[in-house]
Subunit: 614 residues, 2 copies
Amino acid sequence: MRNDQLAELGQQLRVDAVRAADAAGSGHPTSSMSAADLAAVLLAHHLRYDFDQPDHPGNDRLIFSKGHASPLLYALYRVAGAIDDEELLSFRRLDSRLEGHPTPRLPWVDVATGSLGQGLPVGVGMALAGKRLDQIPYRVWVLAGDSEMAEGSVWEAVEHAAYEHLDNLTLIIDVNRLGQRGPTRHGWDLEAYARRLGAFGWHTIEIDGHDVVAVDAALKEAGSTVGQPTAIIARTRKGRGVAEVEDREGMHGKPLPDAAAAIEELGGPRFIRVDVHKPPAAKVLHTALGGPLSLPAFEVGESVATRTAFGKALAALGSARSDVVALDGEVGDSTRTEYFAKVHPSRFFECYIAEQELVGTAVGMQARGYVPYASTFAAFLTRAHDFIRMAAVSRAAINLVGSHAGVAIGQDGPSQMGLEDLAMFRALHGSTVLYPCDANQTARLVAAMAELPGVSYLRTSRGNMPVIYGPDEEFPVGGSKVLRSSDRDRVTVVAGGVTVHEAVRAADLLGQEGIDVRIVDLYSVKPADAVTLQEAADATGCLLTVEDHRPEGGIGDAVAEAFTDGRPMPRLVRLGVRNMPGSATPEEQLHMSGIDAESIAAAVRLLVEQAVVR
Amino acid sequence: MRNDQLAELGQQLRVDAVRAADAAGSGHPTSSMSAADLAAVLLAHHLRYDFDQPDHPGNDRLIFSKGHASPLLYALYRVAGAIDDEELLSFRRLDSRLEGHPTPRLPWVDVATGSLGQGLPVGVGMALAGKRLDQIPYRVWVLAGDSEMAEGSVWEAVEHAAYEHLDNLTLIIDVNRLGQRGPTRHGWDLEAYARRLGAFGWHTIEIDGHDVVAVDAALKEAGSTVGQPTAIIARTRKGRGVAEVEDREGMHGKPLPDAAAAIEELGGPRFIRVDVHKPPAAKVLHTALGGPLSLPAFEVGESVATRTAFGKALAALGSARSDVVALDGEVGDSTRTEYFAKVHPSRFFECYIAEQELVGTAVGMQARGYVPYASTFAAFLTRAHDFIRMAAVSRAAINLVGSHAGVAIGQDGPSQMGLEDLAMFRALHGSTVLYPCDANQTARLVAAMAELPGVSYLRTSRGNMPVIYGPDEEFPVGGSKVLRSSDRDRVTVVAGGVTVHEAVRAADLLGQEGIDVRIVDLYSVKPADAVTLQEAADATGCLLTVEDHRPEGGIGDAVAEAFTDGRPMPRLVRLGVRNMPGSATPEEQLHMSGIDAESIAAAVRLLVEQAVVR
């Protein structure tokens, strides 16, 4: 395309952004207009993408990290012939796929954006997959705003990308100098960004983002740079092309005051179509089919930590299917992903202590068809909460494994204890939350996760625990195990993980006193096994939940939720971690928090004595 | 102190770290040994701290961001005479204040550490307070590990500190080249760190961290550098001084294999005492006492967004007391902290789009006696979840305000909707969770938050809502309001925020059909008003919760928790956001998610028709 045509294309994108936001009555046209020339040249000359085959493995990946520039993205789709003008103007309407911020409801959008600073971490995952797994020469293009460069997650990704020499990754920064509520820290000081990125090992190019010749040259240079990722740092003007809003504060996130005049000022609507370059033929290498799955088997009575069982099961799963990858937050010796790393080093990714990048990379890899297991301490997954939340919006299938759950870790103290993780994961849309209490159960659940949609979470424990289930036992997601049951049960104890063993010990103590209790191992916290819980309620009338987690948001709440269909409720009593733990042995911790066998037994006795239960 | 004495002091710290970990049977001696010389010189020559007066406003602040080096910190305390040898050896024992990672159970520890990458963000808050609020020349010293430099939160703080010219802040990086599971990305490449920090505008000094002369000179240079924060990048050896562990992998986080031999190799125990330099006299400027509090008053029937009421109330609160500060995540025009910024610019802190830094700064400021209100979209507070979790461990009193709650925001779509925030905040130890539905209620709660301990959260809404309470009405934390009540009520609807208004509308619809419902406005989600809920349960037998939040972890779970004392349960039914929203108007969103008046009325009708309720 000639330069004047490229400039015309930029104007078309601007007009369409104005039109879409005007039709919607909301949206971010000015943030779209600043990046229009960058996007025009990218689409016309550099992107390789088959819009008829969004699943083509050779397609480049385009991520609008500045997701609020969605009108620009949708305007590009119209240029490419992927959507028509009528759909463009459905922007932000109920039932339109053109949401305020892009989501994978559109087949050309891999991941949802709109929480700033997430595009590059996800892009790193895609670029890593391209380099180290797919071996397909697709490029990953990330369009970012200048404001979001303040997000730490961006710098986690910048470090990761440089360290991995991801020369298939290009970051395009739309430096329009204005954030939502005013100027950014660095304004139009392109060199401020270049200095920082350069120090991390990136190749940087500073340009005028409205000069299509410069843009074209920069994108070409990015494509031919070897051994380093490239950042194109483009000076632009927010609202470019319309004097009433151009480079003016207070114009963020709203339609233009006078859209008709603006469209006229921009030269009116245009209908340029671009035949986007098609990608070369490419073949997917990974496969869910491999050798037969031979999960590790543990003997009943053996003492094994569930984190160890996780590591061994993941290694086995990796042998059975080549689409499984493991990601570590520099604690692989603790989470036991090191077992996987030893057997499958090419599918193991060290993300160092950067949990947002850890999860972002996982999201990027699942978008390329892989089945990622990302793991760190349960406590530190809270670091990536916003990424996990956005993964749910992305309809991403990722598996997260948090080790060192609860006070049972012992002496390291509260900073290392996952005590809020169940609450975090339960509240996610479409999530699955699993919490095994023994090694064979863990192994089965690790394998089951590979087939689940959405965000799946496995909570593992630091300390050894006795194996209580045989290796052939099955543990369907959504199920539970009734470990003790009789027609004399006066209370049902619902437990998970470490407290299952405490509950069993409590049942032994109580049995000596003639008090029978039912025990439910709620290994699937979400979905929870409502039927079994309801049966237990009918039989015993009272459910006592006990969990190594805060009283809010975990097993106690999950059990209560099983009775929210309007049916008569059983009596519900809950034990959880209500204190602020310090350092102590695991046994002392469980006791101090009131969730050990003695505490459970005491609670049951109280319920029986107070005749709360029959 | 002479150089040979400084070196001896370093050895003492090493020996004590080895002894403490040996006594505990766990801990991180090798990570302490690498930083021993740095700590020795800092304590002996540069720190100004009165250990008898930890509240002295002139005290320097010392933050061990690498909190696992706690044995070193406690060894310092012994040198300073703050603890005795017996207490040192109580490390990690039940009831010892010397926890595995430092917490404010010790009077000399301002904030808990142990989740890496948090010390610098918190230190920036303290240094900002010193510069812009306290006007006291204390220095903030942050000791960090090299591994944690991978955390994005560190780079948020690095950017913030340079931008604010915090020359009272020194970062000491203990570059021992070994992380938990192996080498770091940059090993001993000090220049890699210097290049990055320098690019962000920091003064950097590279030294041999075991050369006490070099350490002394570097600390002095840091103290005399003007206009820039300084980073001392120190090459050290993990486990320094004991050949069996020095610079060896696999020696992280465990006592030395042969402590007795190690102590001998280090020259045996020493009992050097240092009289730490006292700070100059200093006076606290801020005060809780100011003018009378004149909260904004809104007229019943007026249409006001609770976010607007928050902004106005916060500005008023800032006029009444000079210890109130406001922090913004570059969305002050949306959260309405801009009202505060206009009236109190000197106490307004723009943290840009860096939510971890936003919360870290707030934690640092509350440690200096301020009452911070940090605000961004509710959805984006998830970005800082780990910081908020650690704030609870720090016993920090911070106020967090999340705007744009729920699907009611409308067209911007799910990335911008706070739908998991109540779950996140409810599960925190000692937290308070408030969710007002009108402007006067909001104003009262904003004022109440200033007096609360721990992490307090206020959830505000984007859209205008009718004012339903008079300006003189009181809203105690832990209370609720019964908006409709009669002896014919068949169901109790428990709502919060926007759904209160939907519930009122539903009651009107149902009233026309002869169905009376009780309405409880649960503005205090945690603690919840168990008494009122229990009374409503006794009266109506069935509680229907309705919330603009995921069904898990929010109002539904809070209400269920009010019945976990063993009493008979009412029937509980919940309405919450079970779909994945797209873009639509606020009204359409509430309807699509089944939490609008029509949905509530339909649910009540069903309950009545099914004779679930009497």
